[in-house]
Each structure stands twice: as structure tokens, then as C-alpha cells.
């Protein structure tokens, strides 16, 4: 098993953010902890999955400010331990409410301990369950599919099942009908 890491660069040590990085410059040291928290909570769990997978695949030693190969990484300074800290076997989900945090309702902090590093994310419940399920059900299988996805490049995200134009139009019109104030608003349009 590799010594992988998921790290957060709280102190903005990592200046060499690659040009293609999708992350905003929230790693600037003047930013408050709270800002970092809320920014991290906006990270797509999909991204998180690939970070975990790429972490275990890349086998890099976590060092201060060391940029992992994958663009989708963040780093935090910490002392790596010799032993591995596995993920908690049970989905212990702690509904700690931190006061005065500008979190949107229904999200809570998800803390991940891994190989002597700590990462805290603010995610809604269903996303947290997804992440934990993934961790439980087999990273190795997941790594394979992630690698395959990386092979396919950005194919996966860019080739969702395309919907027929006519159905797309209908579904949008239906949404308008359901959300319009007066359900009989269309009446005037159809009659002349």
C-alpha cells in the first residue's frame, strides 16, 4: 500500500500552482480559515475521488508544498508517519455544527485522516455518504476505472448521454408549466 497523501496548503506554501489548475487562488495566506473551508466545500466530490485515487496511485512522499503530479491536489504541511492510518472502518459521521460558519444548511464537516494528514471538507450528507461508500467498497477497483477515465482524457465528463432535442424542449416547457405562478397562464397564449 502506498504512502499517499491528501494535503491542504493552509499556509499558502505552494506557490507553484499550475497554470491549468482549476482552483481559485484561495491558497493565499491572508485568507481566513473560514474562507478556505467554504472554498473547499465547493469542490466537486468527483474531484475528491480522483484525488484519493491518484494519491494512492502516485506513491509520492508528502512534503511541504510538494506538488503532486495530478493537477487536482492540495497540500498541507505535516509530519508523515511511518505507519499508515487507514480510513475509519465505519462511516462515523459527526454532525458537529460549528458556530458562525457561513455554511449552507444541510452540510457538515467531513474529516479525513490519512497517513498522518488531515483534511476537512464541508459537504452535504449525500455527498459524504458517496465518498465514504467509495472508500469502503474498494479503492483498487476505483483506481482502475479512474485510470481508464484518465486514459480517455476528459471523455467521461464530455460525453454524457445526449438527450433528444424534442424531449429536451418538452422537459423545459414542463418545468415552466409546473413552476409558473398561475398553472393556467398558457391559456391566453393558445387562444387568439
Amino acid at each position: 500500500m502506498s504512502r499517499a497523501s491528501v494535503e491542504l496548503d493552509f499556509f499558502g506554501m505552494e506557490k507553484r500552482i499550475s497554470a491549468n489548475s482549476r482552483f481559485p487562488k484561495f491558497l493565499h495566506r491572508q485568507r481566513s480559515f473560514r474562507d478556505i473551508q467554504s472554498a473547499i466545500s465547493k469542490i466537486n466530490p468527483q474531484l475528491l475521488k480522483s484525488v484519493i485515487a491518484s494519491g494512492s496511485a502516485n506513491q509520492q512522499t508528502p512534503e511541504n508544498g510538494h506538488q503532486l503530479d495530478s493537477k487536482k491536489s492540495f497540500s498541507v504541511p505535516s509530519t508523515p508517519k511511518e505507519e499508515l492510518n487507514p480510513f475509519p472502518p465505519l462511516p462515523v459521521y459527526s454532525p458537529l455544527q460549528r458556530p458562525a460558519l457561513e455554511n449552507p444548511p444541510q452540510t457538515a464537516p467531513l474529516t479525513i485522516f490519512y497517513n498522518g494528514t488531515v483534511a476537512v471538507f464541508d459537504v452535504p450528507r449525500d455527498k459524504a455518504e458517496t465518498i465514504l461508500k467509495l472508500a469502503q467498497n474498494g479503492i483498487s477497483k476505483f483506481v482502475e476505472s479512474t485510470n481508464q477515465k484518465q486514459l480517455l482524457g476528459t471523455l467521461d465528463g464530455d460525453l454524457p448521454i445526449a438527450r433528444r432535442k424534442s424531449l429536451q424542449m418538452f422537459l423545459e416547457k414542463r418545468k415552466e408549466r409546473l413552476t409558473s405562478v398561475s398553472p393556467y397562464a398558457c391559456k391566453s397564449v393558445c387562444r387568439l
Binding site: S145, L151, L152, K165, S166, E172, Y184, V189
Partner: protein, 598 residues
């Protein structure tokens, strides 16, 4: 007669048949199948000429494979023409709007030379108001069938010419076309000038300014009116129309905007057996019950019914032959369908909404529904389904029972993380082996859905399949190459999300003996020089085009506008007309000859 025989015999140098031209001329008109006609025309020069003189209908499956000029030179006396333009993917918003498929050169040739043309069908092409004017003025007097099928680029001004001048029109078909609507006068013109209309189709065109009074007038004047499909128009406004159109057998469209109990007063024409009412909900559904048992075709694609409603309605339609609906029908609905509608021939299940709360949670289709269907509806010929889950056993059942299937399309949704039973190698093999009549086949999966072995099975067992659409099949180039050793009848191949390299694609093309058209989106492009490795398929008469990656705005699952980067497309096809000369900026012809030379 004897003399004539002698003369014609001496004229024919290659033909060994002793049949005279007169006899042949009598027999020829009874040969309709295009493949038979194709065979006839290859026998000898004389037979070629006779075929050219007597062939009534031509379908040009892709408009850039030939030119208007060539068509005129061979089939001057053509009575019916069908032309197709944009790749199928255009129906799914994957092709740039201005991609091509312009009818103008064809319309100009038709106006000039095709004096016998009575029926014209343009599908997925770009039509302008000026084209419509030219057509109406030159052929309006004789045109009987006119179909603008999923076309775009014109407005109701162009339709005005059609309404005014095409007075012999039996069929006017505009379904799913993108039309700029300025007013409804064109339909009024049609109502005033036509007494022979049988089919009027404005389905899914968003033409809402048409007046129901004009529909009534058409119903009054055209006693043979048999099929009418319109856009949104309040059903209560159509009561008089339904009374007048006594011969009506098919109606689709309309909308329900008033209180449900008001609709109990609506009565439909007696012969109505094909129906699709837009926005029909559970409260309005009962108006169909009195004649549900007469229904042969039911379109619920644009209705507002949940799973339970589907079960209630379908149970009463035991003569149903065609059903189109969304996956809200669910496995339970399919079970009801299987037990109630034994005569079902065509089933299409489209994808409803993904977003939470927009569709019935019960509305998922899986192996359970498919197995029930296979056991109950043995006469099925066409089946297209979006499933959330699937097993090999389900496909084996389809293979075992549905021996009449000629068109099968399966899309595996990305919703569920885990699919019960992947890969589908064995199920696919079983299906293809047993459904020997299969001509069209689509398999839309996810990574891991079909191994290289499974892809090889498709090649091996799809003996009669002429068209295929594949997504996420196979694991590597090996699979594709194995696949391309088979598929002896495959003429048209469409693929999305392949893991195959350009050079494998090119080699596969060279191995597929019947292939005349290839469309691919999502493949492993050469990192250094995209397109370069396609050089293996450079050959005479084979055009290769690229639609480069582009950014498009799409509506995502939550209904927001998102910018998505769409990967490149490869389009390759045989053509007698040379490379295209009407490219918009969004399309790039691949100059591989140049690439190879450097």
C-alpha cells in the same frame, strides 16, 4: 413483336437474356426494393437505362455522397426523392447548426429538370425561405407530398408560398423542424387553397400562432383528412375541429390548460386509433378510456403521467401496436404492457427528466421490465429503451423470444453507480445470434459494459445489421479490430466514447467491407498531430472530415446552463461528388494527403 425481339437482341451485346425490352418494361415497374433495382441496373447497359427510366423513388442517405447534377443525369423522370443531410447526432444537439446539408443546389436542380417529381422529403437539412419560394413556384402545381423533417433555416414566410401555391398537397410534414414563426397566415392560405390534404404534421415545431379556426376550415374542406399533428393548442378549442374531421384516424398535440372536468365534453372522431395528447395528466386521462381498446398507436412522450397512470391506461389498450413513452413507465408499466398488449410491434422508451422530483421515483426500467416484455410481446419488431440497470439474462430472454426484432437499441443510463451484471458479452452474443432479422442495432454502455471479447461477438454475430450506434464498448484497439473482421452488412457506423486510437479506427474502416459512412465522437486522438493517424483510411472516393472540439452551452441535470467542451468528431463517407465545397467555419476537411506527404 418478332422483329422487335430481333432488333433488341442485336442491340444488346452483354445481355444473355432473351427477354425483349417491352417485356422488361412491363416487369420493371413491379420491382420496388432499391437493392433489387440496384442489382437490375448492374446486369447490362440496357437494363441500367431501363431502370433509370422507370425508377420511381430514390433515397440519398447522405446528401454529400452525390450531386444534383448526377441525379438528374441518371434519374431524370424521378417521382419521389428523399434526401438526408446532417449526421443523426444533430437530433441530440451535437452538430453545429450551420454544419451543412443545404437544400439550395438540390432545389435549383429540381426546379429546372425534375418534371415528374411529386414527392419530396428533406431530413435534417438547411432550408431557406427562398428555397421554399423557388420550389413552390416551380413544382407547386404537381407536388403531392412535401416533408421538411427536422429541418431548419426557414420561417413562416416561406411556408406562405407553400400554402398558396401547393394546392395538390396530400401531405405536409414539418415535424421537429426549427421554424421562425412570424404569424399563422400560411395555414390560413393552406386552408383556403387545398381540398385534398390527408396528412398535416406540425408536431414539435412550436408553431403556436396557427389558428384553430383554420384547422376547422381544413377539416371542412379536406374530406380525406386522416392525420393531424399540431403544436400546443388548447384542446377545448378543437372540439369543433374534432366534430368536423370525420375521417380522422390520427391526432397528436394540443394541450390541457383548463379544469379537468371541462374535458369530459370532448368527443373524438370515430375512427381515431392513433393518439398522443401533449400535457395530458392523470385527471384528463379518462377522456381516452371510451376508445382505448381501439387504439393502435399511443404517444405518451409528452404527457404528464406517472407509473400508476401508465398502468391504468395501458391495461385498457389491448389492441396497441405502437407505444412511445418515457421511462416513467417503469418496470411495473412494462409488466402491464406485456400482459395486456400482445400485439405490440413497436416500443420506444425515451429518457425522462433526471432531476429530483420531476419524474416518478418508480419510473425506472431495468431487466425486470425487459424480461416481462420479452415473454409477453412476442411480435415486437422495434425496441428502443433507456434502462437504469441490466443483466445478461434479460438480453438472453430477448434473443430467445423476440425473433421478429429488426431494430434494437439499448441505452444504459449513467445514474446508478453499480450495474447488476456487467459486462454484457454473453447477453449480447445471445441476442444477436438469435435475432437473425436484426438490421439496426444500438448499444450505449459505460466503461466495463462490454469487453473486447464482447465487441468481437458483435462483429461475429451481426450478420444482417446495416446500421450500428455504439458507446463505450470494448476495452482496446484489439476489440475494434476483431469487431471489424465481421459485420459483413454494416454500412453505417456511429460511435461515441471509444477508447480506440485513430490508427485502429482507420484500420477498422478498411476491414469493414460494406462500410460507406462513419461517424465518431470521442476517441483517442493522436496527441502530436490530430488526424494524422487516420491516414490508413485514405483512399479514392472516401471523404474525411473533422468537426473540431468546441464549447457548447447545455442544460445540465439541475436545469442550469453549463458550458461543456464537446470533443472532436470524425465523419468519413464514400462520395462520387468529391470533397465538400460548402464548409462552414465549424468543420474542417482533413487534408490527409497533404499530411502524409509532409
Amino acid at each position: 413483336m418478332e422483329e422487335e425481339n430481333q432488333n433488341s437482341k442485336s442491340n444488346r451485346t452483354n445481355c444473355s437474356s432473351s427477354m425483349s425490352d417491352v417485356v422488361l418494361g412491363c416487369v420493371m415497374p413491379y420491382i420496388h426494393d432499391p437493392r433489387d433495382r440496384d442489382a437490375v441496373s448492374l446486369v447490362c447497359r440496357r437494363w441500367y437505362e431501363l431502370d433509370a427510366l422507370t425508377r420511381k423513388h430514390i433515397t440519398i442517405a447522405f446528401c454529400y455522397t452525390t450531386s444534383p447534377d448526377r441525379l438528374r443525369r441518371r434519374f431524370k423522370h424521378l417521382e419521389s426523392l428523399k434526401l438526408k443531410g446532417k449526421p443523426r447526432a444533430a437530433m441530440f444537439n451535437l452538430i453545429p447548426e450551420d454544419w451543412g446539408g443545404f437544400v439550395t443546389p438540390w432545389v435549383n436542380e429540381i426546379a429546372e429538370s425534375f418534371n415528374c417529381l411529386k414527392s419530396l422529403h428533406f431530413r435534417r437539412m438547411i432550408v431557406t425561405d427562398s428555397d421554399l419560394e423557388v420550389l413552390a413556384k416551380s413544382r407547386g402545381r404537381v407536388l403531392q407530398v412535401f416533408k421538411l423533417d427536422k429541418c431548419s433555416g426557414f420561417s413562416t414566410d416561406g411556408l406562405l408560398h407553400v400554402g398558396r401555391l401547393c394546392r395538390q398537397l396530400r401531405t405536409l410534414f414539418l415535424e421537429e423542424s426549427s421554424i421562425l414563426e412570424k404569424d399563422g397566415y400560411w395555414l390560413h392560405e393552406l386552408a383556403l387553397n387545398n381540398t385534398v390534404l390527408e396528412t398535416l404534421n406540425l408536431y414539435m415545431t412550436d408553431l403556436n400562432k396557427v389558428r384553430f379556426e383554420d384547422l376547422e376550415l381544413i377539416a371542412k374542406n379536406c374530406r380525406n383528412l386522416v392525420s393531424v399533428k399540431i403544436s400546443d393548442c388548447e384542446i377545448l378549442d378543437l372540439v369543433r375541429f374534432f366534430h368536423t374531421a370525420a375521417a380522422l384516424e390520427e391526432f397528436c398535440g394540443g394541450s390541457f390548460n383548463d379544469m379537468p372536468d371541462k374535458y369530459s365534453a370532448v368527443t373524438f372522431p370515430q375512427k381515431l386509433c392513433r393518439l398522443g395528447l401533449t400535457y395530458m395528466g392523470k385527471n384528463e386521462m379518462p377522456i381516452v378510456f371510451p376508445f382505448a381498446s381501439l387504439l393502435k398507436k399511443l404517444d405518451l412522450l409528452y404527457a404528464l403521467l406517472d407509473t400508476e397512470d401508465h398502468c391504468l391506461l395501458i391495461q385498457k389498450c389491448f389492441n396497441l401496436e405502437v407505444l412511445e413513452t418515457r421511462n416513467v413507465i417503469g418496470d411495473r408499466g412494462l409488466e402491464v404492457l406485456a400482459s395486456s398488449c400482445r400485439r405490440l410491434k413497436r416500443l420506444r422508451i425515451e429518457l425522462g427528466a433526471d432531476a429530483q422530483g420531476m419524474e416518478d421515483e418508480e419510473g425506472v426500467v431495468s431487466q425486470r421490465g425487459l424480461i416481462a416484455l420479452a415473454q409477453g410481446c412476442l411480435e415486437l419488431e422495434y425496441m428502443a429503451v433507456y434502462v437504469s440497470d441490466i443483466t445478461n439474462v434479460a438480453l438472453e430472454h430477448i434473443g430467445a423470444h423476440l425473433r421478429n426484432l429488426n431494430d434494437f437499441r439499448l441505452v444504459l443510463l449513467d445514474r446508478e453507480e453499480r450495474i447488476t451484471d456487467l459486462p454484457l458479452d454473453n447477453g449480447v452474443r445471445s441476442l444477436l445470434r438469435q435475432c437473425k432479422k436484426l438490421r439496426r442495432f444500438a448499444l450505449y454502455l459505460r466503461p466495463g459494459g462490454l469487453t473486447d471479447v464482447g465487441l468481437g461477438y458483435i462483429g461475429q454475430y451481426s450478420i444482417n445489421v446495416r446500421w450500428m450506434l455504439l458507446r463505450y464498448v470494448g476495452e482496446s484497439d484489439e476489440g475494434l479490430l476483431e469487431f471489424s473482421k465481421g459485420c459483413p452488412s454494416l454500412q453505417k457506423l456511429e460511435m461515441r466514447g471509444c477508447c480506440f486510437t485513430e490508427s485502429a479506427l482507420a484500420r477498422a474502416v478498411m476491414q469493414l467491407t460494406s462500410l460507406r459512412y462513419l461517424w465518431v465522437q470521442g476517441y483517442r486522438a493522436s496527441s502530436s498531430n490530430p488526424g494524422r493517424d487516420l491516414s490508413a483510411m485514405v483512399r479514392p472516393f472516401w471523404n474525411i472530415e473533422l468537426i473540431p472540439p468546441r464549447k457548447v452551452v447545455v442544460v445540465n441535470q439541475v436545469g442550469e446552463d453549463v458550458v461543456v467542451e464537446q470533443p472532436a468528431h470524425i465523419l468519413a463517407y464514400y462520395s462520387l461528388a468529391g470533397p465538400r465545397t460548402d464548409f462552414p467555419n465549424s468543420v474542417v476537411p482533413l487534408d490527409l494527403v497533404g499530411l502524409v506527404a509532409t
